[in-house]
């Protein structure tokens, strides 16, 4: 068997903003034997996960589950709704927004970038008024879709999706609203129906706490209507056959059965009232983000995101002082302390690293992760103003988790 024992003993701290650590409960669920995906047991499984994941998206409309990773779900959103040469407006908040823009171009769309210039745009959420202005100028309604990233994984900035919807509406523009919430779903509050998203894209390996391998498109009736006329070639990604087969809990082609076992478990965990349900999950992530930012502030370092209202509850980008190579710091931390941190991507490569605080996480795990960062930064010669670990511990101690978010440990194993 493969050996993954790079370090001698103990728990590896995987604090990247996804893939996030998979709970043992989910790994166990995924180890159940693969069943016949056309047999009688499968339909029950399919209906269960389709219902569960719709609750997580907070939607009453169909959610399509692909046996493919998140990048595929980006392609699916475009392939089902667009035709060759269509205009799409893509707001650049960071590296993943830029990659999505690149994909749209490769697929033959006229993808227009919008956003603040240079690195500045990578330190903030979407500025909805820019979208409103651009759409208002598009008198002929050539723009078919507005694409935004809910939680920009490369920077740690979360955007106000409801504000984007209002901007589109204020411009009285019919463009579809497509949202990448790959790293936001199930960690940062998200309301597909209420916020008026037409397609929301998500993946398994972030807030859902699964290994990578399945991904999602949550749909709106307008998106479904648009898919009837869109002309980009599509077959594997086609919504129509998926929605048809899903009615009875089945899929038009072989699904990723074992990941669906994991998804059933993940939904059970996220929707479990004992720990506050979805609201509890959101509260936990907010609090983790606050503590990590308290640490960064204590160190005297900057966070990549500079807009107070846009700080991500999922990850925090930590900017290095001039002259410090962030990747050298990360490498030192990985080798000395068995802690994986996220690298800086694209425009900010080498200038920052990212601390993931999502999914199957808790206070002490973050104390450990911040401890690893603090020791590593010092060993790398970075001058720190004060102890970030102390600041985070003070935050945790002074801000107990609200009751509804799982503060009251349940009597486990007792029923």
């Amino acid at each position: 068997m493969l050996e993954l024992d790079f370090h001698p003993t103990g728990h590896h701290f995987l604090q990247i903003p996804g893939p996030s650590p998979v709970p043992d409960r989910i790994l166990r669920a995924m180890s159940m034997p693969t069943i016949d995906h056309r047999g009688p047991e499968f339909g029950a499984l399919g209906l269960r996960v389709l219902k569960g994941v719709a609750e997580v998206f907070q939607t009453k409309h169909p959610v399509v589950i692909y046996p493919a990773s998140g990048t595929g779900a980006w392609e699916a959103a475009l392939a089902n709704t667009m035709s060759a040469g269509d205009d799409v407006l893509m707001y650049e908040t960071g590296h993943f927004a830029a990659l999505w823009h690149r994909m749209a171009t490769r697929l033959g769309l006229r993808a227009e970038r919008i956003g603040l210039p240079g690195v500045e745009g990578w330190r903030r959420g979407v500025q909805a008024h820019l979208i409103e202005e651009r759409l208002a100028a598009d008198r002929e309604h050539a723009i078919k879709a507005v694409c935004v990233v809910h939680n920009e994984t490369s920077t740690g900035a979360t955007s106000d999706i409801l504000a984007v919807r209002r901007a589109i509406d204020a411009a009285k523009h019919p463009a579809l609203l497509m949202v990448d919430s790959i790293s936001g779903l199930a960690s940062a509050e998200y309301r597909h129906d209420e916020w008026g998203a037409d397609v929301t894209i998500a993946g398994s390996q972030k807030g859902l706490m699964l290994p990578p391998g399945i991904s999602f498109n949550a749909l709106s009736p307008r998106a479904i209507e648009a898919s009837r006329f869109a002309k980009l070639p599509k077959s594997f990604w086609a919504w129509d056959e998926m929605m048809e087969a899903n009615r009875t809990g089945y899929f038009p082609y072989t699904p990723a059965t074992n990941l669906l076992y994991g998804l059933a478990e993940s939904c059970d965990m996220l929707l479990d009232d004992t720990h506050g349900g979805l609201a509890g999950a959101f509260a936990r992530h907010r609090r983790w983000g606050e503590a990590v930012r308290a640490a960064v502030a204590a160190w005297g370092l900057e966070t990549q995101c500079v807009e107070p209202q846009s700080h991500s509850p999922v990850l925090t980008g930590v900017v290095m002082p001039p002259g410090v190579d962030a990747d050298r710091v990360r490498k030192l931390i990985h080798e000395r302390f068995d802690l994986s941190l996220g690298t800086g991507l694209g425009k900010v490569k080498g200038r920052m690293f990212r601390i993931g605080h999502l999914g199957n996480c808790n206070d002490l795990t973050l104390v450990a992760a911040l401890g690893g960062c603090e020791m590593g930064l010092k060993l790398a010669g970075v001058k720190l103003a004060a102890s970030g670990v102390q600041a985070a511990m003070a935050h945790f101690a002074e801000h107990p988790l609200p009751l509804h978010a799982g503060a009251a440990p349940r009597r486990a194993a007792s029923e």
Copy 2:
């Protein structure tokens, strides 16, 4: 946790032609913690599985691994090599060949079906001379690709791929040869390079003994060259970025890490000399197929495949006598004996069922499966000429597994 205990106790016999039963060794490997797919451990994993799977395809050229199920790999083969409106010649050997044709049409290709008429074509392998004749008639070389299915999962007929290559060459035609070996790879002999395939498509959930969720395109230099000029939009499926990233063992977007753990284990198992390596695996499957066909013959029933040289080593289609609903028989067997058999698909729905004999299988498992069929057929009122179980046991007893195929049990646990 999800409960999969449809039946009270014991091992469920999953004898469909895929997904095939996943060995515990692979389930355990897949339960290792997901790692950072941009970290130092991952590159070593990536190089290892890319090398291993190329050995299984018997190719020296690149193999692309998608974090998507097999249907996606069909789409990838076409999207990377074709342009809108291109002609492709698709030989129909059964339901999956027909589905691939349907996909090609949805993707905007001019997909021409070829093959024997009616159900007759579904009882044989590819008739290579028909391809040669058709290509010879295509003077302008409008046809860009010939698409065939190596092992037709819906019928149990295996085609002679080398004969198809020779037919194309005999016609002096430049069309690419695309082969679906989704249910053939690692069970039925297959030589990507030697047989001159340009793209071979495969999936994880058959002979590789993994859960569904990853799939493959094995390439030829000509296919790679064609991909530089093909114009179908492609991004997720694009070979170029994959091949580039794969050089160091990484992937351009998030891979299905835990399935790659399983793939490393699967390659170790298949290539293990102690059990005869790939040749051993092929010999085991051939022998299982012979025993199952001996059983069907003893029952006095017909196999779906009627060409002696085309009988599949992977699965056997069993044709019901007139008036017997194959799906009613399957349902009775599932409920009474905890045995899953494959349903008849498309043109032969209700007329036949399929027994899978692939992957993590052995003699006694097939004795059990044939026992379940025999009891179920009798309970369903089907008159049987003799005992198929006896015939299969006679075959197994009289034909010990050749030494190179794993006949000599190794001293396990001893080193």
Copy 3:
């Protein structure tokens, strides 16, 4: 990691009368992280398994769980109730009864063997009248305990425990009734309270479907009373501290926590009404035993047990014709067909082999096991009168599992 791949592929058929195959559900449960056995979660676990296992013993009185294998529970039963030099009457039904006798002697007791002479006693259950006669002769009540084996694992004979209780009562004798139901519990009907057992000994690796490692003493008020005066030295095995700590679900020393996780799952499975609860389990085992005996009869071979009312539902001993070495047959079957059968023990070594049909078993698994035996016997040159596999299949087909024993497959995964 250790490799257990003696054979190239497929499921190993472990058809020995214990350890029995462990269901994946239980292996998964056992893979949960070990917890603090003095922490708040543990007490709930402890109470749950103590309650569950008492239901399986059908007792209202305490059951003691040892972190030790079954042989230890034999010692515990004696160490808690006896004093050096005490007389105990031990009925020899086979090898395990003989081993228990040997242990009693080693512990300093005057252990008297009783039973039919020679091998004859190893082909029947306990003859209760012999016990009655012996006790009646013991006017001074020197005999402190009568020890019998409920299901003799070495022969396949089950004894009538209620008859033994009645024999003791008929003799108006105060001896304790100690019963080894190591291989009987949860497979063969057993009623600790109703049948008047004073101590029942059991282990984890048979009908409870767990790996070996924990074992049990079910107690009666009289046994507890006796333990207050017994003088054999005891500490690890002492009931008093166990019963005291168990009141709150804890243990006086470190318990085998992960096996207790498995026990919780095992009790859930056995007591699950959907599959008929305990009565369902007993019915399944009876039916399996009938089918296996039908096979042995068809082969023209003898079963080791010759008393119709004593045939074990757990295992069947198959006697070889003169001149055939049973262990050579077993070895051939193991190497050729990946099937483990039980060896003949003690007086019958080499003369018989044992087929286990217990726990996590089902009809097709037994068809496979009988198929392996039939092929192996023929290859070993044993002349068989007819096909045992056919006979067993006829039995299974004609005798559907009663509804209450799990015949109606439940809609799994659906809630």
Copy 4:
């Protein structure tokens, strides 16, 4: 399935001095199917684990493996070497030494306690000169054994076993030296042969990183010789049959097969040269202990052990200031921070808690554990002089793990 989700998400920090966290590698190994313990694969397994564990004990003599928890191995050591009424000298270093004394008394031995008076003796290792003096006074050599605890789990004091051996020799006394290294083995340096121990007792759930359920007696030729004349009744614990069966890798009664799978994996991990082998493991534990003691000193609190040379590398006892209930602090920490600490036992109940730092541990895990303690102590109103977390981090940063102890991460997954 049982639910162990007392807290909403994340990794539970089990920092008690055993059971210690079980590595996933070992849990996976333990999930392999139980095999026939009389079959050909088992002998190879048995020989492998018997060899491996002897290397861990650093002995050339037999090691007996019991399918029972550590308390049983205490009993085994006495039952095999002593006769009723024999004198044994038991040095009291803490609660576990006291429990062993209690067991000896229950087994009918004349167990004499020796040690410093009151709680003072619970803050130090064995004072070997006291043993020498006592033995010198025993002119008739009535004392048959000297019993000491190598690493006292209740206090965090490690004793100098070689000094005890020298004391016995200096007194020219023939008493056997029996050592409980249940919580020391594989974490604190231990040399069974070189230090002249006659019986060393150990368990699985500490440095060996297994769940509880198997335990050990390492023997010397003198102990084996003594067992031939010892008269305490013994059967389950008897060495003679064990040693006989072990010669071929088998056991006289059913072993705890799945824990033996785990033991094979554990020995592979501990003896792996890449991470420094046993010496590496000892160095890791020493360094962890130093860091934890640095934290306690920074807090301005006392450790329970007050002898510099006796500080345990396995656990640290932290003494509460007067008036603070240690168990209330532990409970608060468990509920708020998902961290399990060891309770004070016996004489020091409520006065101290214990931090385990053993087995599958690493630097960041201890930073987390110390962080949880620090937050919890403050929340409980304990005044701390300074940050213990900072002190521990300073220690870790300034004292990199020596190369031979696993400092150089290996290129995993690469071969």
